[in-house]
Symmetry: C2
Subunit: 136 residues, 2 copies
C-alpha cells in the first residue's frame, strides 16, 4: 500500500522527507495519547511537542546524520518521519509503539508538564533506539 | 489492552464519552491524512474539521441517539468517539478506514477546501454506515 512512498535509500533521506514528517506527526500524537491513557488510567488526547521529540532523537546515534545546528522543529520532524517510515514499511505496529512508550512512561496526574516532557523524551528515545536496526 | 475503556452498554454512552472523542480525534486525523495521501499521490498531514464529521454523522441513523440541537463540535466528537470505540474493540483497523475513505475520496490538487469537505463528509458517512452493525 505504501511502497511508493518509502523508497528511501538512507536514513538522511527519511529524516528530511517533509511528507513522512506530516504523517509521522499524526502517528506519534496518536500513539502518545494511547500510551498516556494507559499510564493515567483514563483516555486522553495529546500533542507531543517538537522539543520532546528533538530531545529524544538527539540522544540517539541516528542524530549524527543531521546537521548539528538543526533546530528543535526540524529535529522533531526527523523523529516523526522515521516513525512514519517504520510504520509504513511494517517494521513497527501501533501496538508496539504504545506498549513500548507506556512501559517507561511513569507519570500521573501530579506530574508537571516539564517533568512529563523529560520522561516522554526518554520513552521516545528508547523506542527509537530499539528500532534503529530497521533503518536503511 | 483497551477492555476497561470500552465497556459501554449503548451507543449513546459511546457518543458522549469525552475520552473516546479525544482518542478518536487523533485516529480520524491520522486515517484521513493517509487516505488523502493515497488520493493525491504524495504524503500529507491533515486535521479534519468538526463540521465535516458533524455532516457525516448527521446523515446516518446513529444520529437519532443525539439531541437534535447538538452543535457541530459535539456531533464531531460523537463521530470521533465512535471511531475510537470501533478501533479499540478491534471491529475496525486503520487499514480498513484508510481503504474505505480513500476509495470514495475523489479529490485532487485543484479541489477547493469547501468541496473537499463535502466529499470527505460523504466518505466518512459511508464508512460509519458500513460499521453501524458493530455498535452496541
Amino acid at each position: 500500500m505504501w511502497e511508493n512512498f518509502v523508497e528511501h535509500k538512507n536514513v538522511e533521506a527519511i529524516m528530511h522527507d517533509k511528507g513522512l514528517a506530516k504523517v509521522g506527526d499524526g502517528l506519534v500524537n496518536f500513539c502518545y495519547s494511547l500510551a498516556k491513557s494507559l499510564a493515567l488510567g483514563y483516555l486522553t488526547g495529546e500533542k507531543v511537542r517538537d522539543s520532546v521529540l528533538a530531545r529524544a532523537i538527539r540522544a540517539t546515534s541516528v542524530y549524527r546524520h543531521m546537521n548539528r545546528r538543526t533546530d528543535a522543529g526540524k529535529a522533531g520532524d526527523a523523529y516523526e518521519a522515521i516513525m512514519a517510515y517504520l510504520w509504513m514499511t511494517e517494521k513497527i505496529t501501533i501496538s508496539d509503539m504504545v506498549d513500548s512508550l507506556s512501559e517507561s512512561l511513569e507519570i500521573d496526574n501530579t506530574t508537571s508538564r516539564k517533568k512529563e516532557g523529560e520522561i516522554a523524551a526518554l520513552s521516545f528515545q528508547k523506542f527509537l533506539e530499539s528500532n534503529i536496526e530497521h533503518l536503511p
